[in-house]
């Protein structure tokens, strides 16, 4: 009797799952990954955003990650940031602005591209620009954080 019940329950869950996927209510991980990462962009700290994107907030400082950004800007509306990483198997690059809320500004998934990404970001105030590079599954950050001074 117990065995019958367990089998029936398993079948019910499987059926519910299939219906869920069909309705689009319950998405497989692949579909979710391809969507916009809402939780990462909602995270209020750099560590939370990284954990949401990559599963961990731990980074290794490396000379191979180079960040270019102006030292000072008059207004934080347009701050050009460019990242290049001399590392093998670079899969993703993320740019976070420490004092922005939320801090995650942009990130790019690379598959076969050169390890490079540049984008103009908005900065709310003087802050560090944090960059994280996913190379081969491990996270790397530049040896020194780049600080951009906002406001004359």
């Amino acid at each position: 009797m117990q065995f019958q019940r367990r089998k029936a329950l398993k079948r019910l869950i499987a059926a519910a799952g299939t219906i869920g996927v069909a309705l689009g209510v319950w998405k497989s991980r692949a579909t979710r990954a391809a969507e916009w990462p809402r939780d990462a962009y909602g995270a209020s700290t750099v560590a939370d955003a990284l954990r949401n994107l990559y599963g961990t907030g731990e980074t290794t400082a490396s000379h191979a990650v180079k960040v270019r950004a102006p030292t000072r800007v008059q207004s934080g509306g347009v701050v050009p940031v460019s990242v290049s990483a001399d590392l093998p198997d670079v899969r993703a690059i993320s740019i976070l602005i420490e004092k922005n809320s939320p801090p995650l500004a942009a990130h790019v998934h690379l598959s076969g591209a050169v390890a490079f990404f540049a984008i103009n970001v908005r900065m709310a105030s003087t802050s560090d620009v944090r960059v994280v590079v996913n190379a081969g599954g491990k996270l790397y950050a530049p040896k020194q954080n780049v600080e951009v001074l906002v406001g004359a």
Partner: protein, 102 residues
């Protein structure tokens, strides 16, 4: 909303510069007339493909500047190869542009 692409190839590496006209409202700005917050309207995804093969997908947040300028680089592109950039925003509006590398 225009999308402009420029490419520059140096030493086998092609830099692809994309500029998309887009308000990129972060949802914090107040409309000067109504004094109400303008709802967020920003590009969420930009995809880059070389000859039909996607090599980069960028996820953007509302902290990206108005009329975003994005650069990526790819190797192995030859003159005549097609670069296609597609983007979509949080309101479902999308756009794309394709150019041939010179």
């Amino acid at each position: 909303m225009a999308t402009k692409i420029r490419t520059k190839t140096i030493n086998g590496e092609t830099e692809i510069l994309v500029r998309i006209d887009h308000p990129m409202e972060d949802g914090q700005r107040l409309d000067p007339k109504t004094k109400l917050r303008i709802p967020p309207h920003f590009i969420q995804k930009i995809t880059f493909a070389l000859n039909g093969e996607e090599f980069a997908v960028a996820d953007l947040g509302s902290a990206v500047s108005k009329d975003p300028l994005v650069k990526v680089k790819v190797r192995g592109a030859k003159p005549g190869d097609k670069v296609k950039v597609g983007w979509s925003d949080n309101k479902g509006i999308a756009g794309e542009k394709e150019i041939a590398i010179t």
